[in-house]
């Protein structure tokens, strides 16, 4: 007999992933079709529609789906998600649908009254986030004192709420300027919304999840020592200080610009130290040969690294108008989506394996997780994805929107092929089933087959 010890499979994680993938494809199609940035201005309603397909539809749903599975792993606690994960997903999907309607109305393509769908949708997304965090927060609370990686996730979730609340406030001002004539909310709020979402929610959460997953998959030391602590303190402290000082500035506190710049620089230093620690993690790994998911996390980390000089350039030269778009693109598609795609390539087969083979383990021959995918077949699509994002960033910096859209088409094709590989994992039984007496020589034979 044994007592149940592991975290259970989160049954709503895979539906989250499926929904997120649909939105990722939709966002790329919108950008290629020329109805949003880079063809339309950054603040145009249709750009906002495409951006929210990407940020809420793809990245937020992807991350929440992953967190429902991995917060229990990170904290070694039982899974508390249950039905709240489904409630969260449905609320976010309906809310995003309403927000998209609101953006289209804002563009003038629907009756103006439909603009109210924007704050209504935002409230539903907020309700979805609350439902998700009710279970995630409970799991995190039970795990106090929080393990290292979970601390990033907890702080990221706080910024998720800050992002959504600011978004709702701006949408109210946009939809009813007659009742709320507060242009300052839009002029200052947009930057705060972006900072909270891109760096606070997405990047801090991605850092936490990457610390856990990459140490696990590369057999690198989990203990990150003083450098890891510095990353946590500088990233989280710097981000909170930047955000709060910007809020104070927006509220009319008239803080010296140097205060906000210094806080932003602290965050940048934290991110730089994170990347240095990632180099240390890869160098210190015990699993010498990288699998595709850990190998393809590297170009995503390089994309994060390239964001730092771009952000410094914007801060020093103040050229947010020309550099802001390429920077956001590189961060969203190269760093965050790149990390998401590469880790989906491991998480989907792993969860599929648990569903299909977990119960027969030890009773009959079972495949390895690696046998559910074909790395040789899929590697070129990952290479194409990151090469296209690199080219897209260059075309963005050079101000060539048509070529940029061509690059987006290339990474749409690459991502479709990666999603096809994940679809095959879900649909097909593996071709190779290893003999039960598992030893190195048989593995090597099957790998070379």
């Amino acid at each position: 007999m044994f007592k149940m010890m592991g975290s259970a499979i989160s049954r709503w994680t895979m539906p989250h992933f499926a929904a997120a993938i649909v939105f990722f494809i939709a966002a790329q199609i919108a950008m290629i079709a020329g109805i949003s940035y880079p063809s339309a201005p950054l603040a145009a309603p249709m750009t906002l529609a495409a951006v929210h397909l990407l940020t809420i539809g793809w990245l937020t749903i992807l991350m929440l789906g992953a967190l429902h599975q991995f917060v229990p792993v990170i904290t070694a606690q039982p899974n508390a998600a249950g039905r709240s994960a489904l409630v969260s997903l449905v609320a976010i999907l309906v809310g995003l649908g309403a927000m998209e309607t609101g953006f289209v109305a804002l563009e003038g393509r629907l009756a103006h009254a439909a603009v109210l769908a924007l704050p209504a949708g935002g409230l539903l997304v907020l309700a979805g986030a609350i439902a998700a965090c009710a279970s995630l927060g409970r799991t995190l609370w039970r795990a106090r004192p929080l393990p290292f990686a979970a601390r990033f996730v907890a702080i990221g979730l706080v910024f998720l709420f800050a992002t959504i609340v600011l978004g709702i406030l701006m949408s109210l001002v946009l939809s009813r300027p007659d009742l709320m004539p507060w242009p300052r909310v839009i002029s200052h709020g947009l930057q705060l919304h972006l900072m909270a979402g891109l760096i606070g929610w997405f990047t801090l959460t991605a850092i936490g999840v990457s610390y856990r997953l990459l140490t696990m998959f590369t057999l690198a030391p989990e203990e990150r020592g003083p450098l890891g602590t510095a990353v946590l303190l500088l990233c989280a402290g710097g981000r909170a200080a930047t955000w709060l000082s910007s809020v104070a500035d927006a509220a009319g506190a008239a803080l010296p610009a140097a205060v906000i710049a210094a806080a932003a620089a602290v965050t940048g230093l934290g991110l730089a130290l994170y990347l240095i620690d990632m180099v240390r993690l890869y160098r210190g790994r015990r699993r010498h040969k990288l699998e595709l998911n850990t190998g393809m996390a590297l170009p995503a980390l390089i994309a994060f690294a390239l964001c730092i000089p771009l952000a410094i350039r914007i801060a020093v030269l103040g050229r947010a108008g020309t550099l802001g778009g390429p920077l956001a693109y590189l961060l969203l598609f190269g760093g965050l989506s790149g990390l998401g795609l590469s880790q989906l390539y491991k998480i989907v087969p792993f969860l599929t394996w648990l569903e299909r083979y977990g119960r027969v383990l030890g009773k009959q021959p079972v495949p390895r997780v690696q046998d559910l995918v074909d790395e040789r077949r899929d590697r070129p699509w990952f290479v194409l994805y990151f090469a296209a994002v690199a080219l897209g960033t260059v075309f963005g910096l050079l101000g060539r929107p048509l070529l940029w859209r061509a690059a987006i088409l290339a990474h749409l094709i690459a991502s479709l092929m990666i999603f096809r590989a994940l679809w095959l994992v879900r649909r097909r039984a593996p071709l190779i089933v290893h003999p039960p007496a598992f030893a190195a020589p048989s593995l090597q034979r099957s790998n070379s087959a």
């Binding site: 010498h288 648990l354 977990g358 119960r359 030890g362 390895r368």
Partner: protein
């Protein structure tokens, strides 16, 4: 514990793999202790990390495989992460396969 039963349990547990690493749990060093007294087997097991979603499946597999060995009447499987597992616990073959120490 007789050497025969010990060898039989080890062989039986070699049919259980860690799905992510793709290698049998004996050579990975997941089995900290396997003792048999009067047909009652007690297995002390670990995984690469606490909270791993495969843990319960590994426990069930270890229990089933041990129970299938002739002369075993009852099995207790206990999980522990103290001391934590490290790649140093792998067999020489497993280390060579994963490139540990390169």
């Amino acid at each position: 514990m007789s050497t025969d039963i010990a060898a039989a349990i080890t062989e039986a547990l070699k049919t259980v793999i860690d799905p992510e690493l793709g290698y049998n749990i004996v050579d990975l060093g997941f089995v900290y202790r396997a003792e048999v007294q009067d047909g009652h087997a007690q297995i002390l097991l670990t995984t690469t990390t606490p909270g791993c979603p495969a843990t319960d499946y590994l426990c069930a597999a270890v229990e089933a495989c041990t129970a299938s060995v002739a002369g075993i009447a009852a099995v207790d499987v206990t999980m522990t992460w103290d001391p934590p597992w490290s790649p140093d616990r792998m067999s020489a073959e497993a280390k060579a396969y994963f490139g540990v120490g390169l």
